[in-house]
Amino acid sequence: MKLPIYMDHHATTPVDPRVLDAMLPFFTQEFGNPASRNHAFGWAAEKAVEQARQQVADLIGATPKEIVFTSCATEANNLALKGAAAMYGEKGNHIVTCVTEHKAVLDPCRQLEEQTFRVTYLPVQKDGRIDLRELRAALTDKTILISIMTANNEIGVLQPVAEIGAVAKEKGVIFHTDAVQAAGKVPFDVNQVQADLVSMSGHKIYGPKGIGALFVRRRNPRVLLAEQISGGGHERGIRSGTLNVPGIVGLGKAAELCRTEMAGEAARLARLRDRLNEKLHQSLDGIYVNGSLEHRLPHSLNVSFAYVEGESLLMGINDVAVSSGSACTSASLEPSYVLKALGTGDDLAHSSIRFGLGRWTTEEEVDYVADKVAAVVRRLREMSPLYELMKEGADLSKQRWTAH
């Protein structure tokens, strides 16, 4: 077993060597510009791009013409939200999203609010999922767009996207979903979900960084977007800019591998994730899983370790790469807004660790991580005044603290 161990696959994933092999020729020999319509270099590049478009479409049950390549999922989200807002702003000025969305959705929404748009941020329940009744209640005749992510990047919780899609369809509202964490990991079909706009990213599915895709529905209904990057009219005028051919080829190959290997990979990772969770629960008391265990990505676990601050835990397990919802890691001094939205107390939000297993995670690694985390949590609890107070029988919620 090699150290350090990477268990932060929600942040990014390594490129699969098969993906890299597919990409390499497109840097040196097949370097043509797909927009070069008059010679073999351009044709070869175009052929590769169209094959990748098919591969990406196949992963989500779309048709190739519905796939628009972007530079990343952040751009795809911006294009979806701002592009739809600009196109349908005449029809209405109301957007519905959710408080636990990624910043790449929340921030464009804030920008739209500075224009003429009104945005409703739905709360989530304790399990991290929205309440469909609240969604229905939020819709007005001015609502043009619902944007709810398929899976959350911090807690791995899956939203009821098929139900949301049905509501959107019924009300004639466009449904965008940020499927960056879910596509390629769990079955996702644009028609089953009735999604109109879907964002994806290469580097979360064992493809390269710097490539993303947006699914834009062409039938029932045909969704139109105002371009956000204008120029040579690439990607059917929706997104200009010379195509990143190696990146696109890599995204395509990554999507194909995810599609063909998903069933086995998801089952294997769910088993390892459950093993990690069980081992942690066997060795430690005062630990809490954040978000629904049932509606969750198979490779994802987010746990709070009471009485221990997350960053110190990360520092103690320095040969394991994971991330924390503690404020100290983000420099903002505010703990994770996602955990707070679940109703997790600030103290437990500061104590949270996100584990993201991946394609090459082994059982040996899982066991090592479980043992290491348990040992460090025990050591830090011996150092923790909160643990001592709890053992003395004090009620921590009644203690008077000197907030600073």
Binding site: E309, M315, L386, W401, T402, H404
Partner: protein, 134 residues
């Protein structure tokens, strides 16, 4: 976040972790910070009755590595000091010694607050005792 070698050393080998009897009249206890803010420090000093010098100091900290290191460092510095000398320790001294980055300044501030709170607690006890024996 990258840590200075001194922070890592104090984090991995914290000095003087533990507790002193908090009802001992020669012991002062400071408990500062809040769990919601991500750090809580408990700092205790024992003042030698004969000399008025701090002869023992212990800490327990819930917080990031820099918070743990700040409190560990402070327990080392406190031993052998009079209360006036202890009060002269500033958060700047702590931050400088540990090379804390700006986002971690609050850890050193909290450690300074903990010293002040422990000394105040000790002096409160002394006054209460003096009043009781008067």
């Amino acid at each position: 976040m990258t840590y200075s070698p001194k922070v890592i050393d104090h984090f991995q080998n914290p000095r003087n972790v533990g507790s002193l009897p908090k009802d001992d009249p020669h012991v002062g206890t400071g408990l500062v910070g809040a769990p919601e803010c991500g750090d809580v420090m408990k700092l205790q000093i024992r003042v030698s009755p004969g000399t008025g010098v701090i002869d023992d100091a212990r800490f327990k900290t819930f917080g990031c590595g820099s918070a743990i290191a700040s409190s560990s460092l402070v327990t080392e510095w406190l031993k052998g000091r009079t209360l006036d000398q202890a009060l002269a320790i500033t958060n700047g001294d702590i931050a400088h010694e540990l090379q804390l980055p700006p986002v971690k300044m609050h850890c050193s501030v909290l450690a300074e607050d903990a010293i002040k709170a422990a000394i105040a607690d000790y002096q409160r006890k002394r006054e209460a005792n003096a009043a009781a024996t008067r």
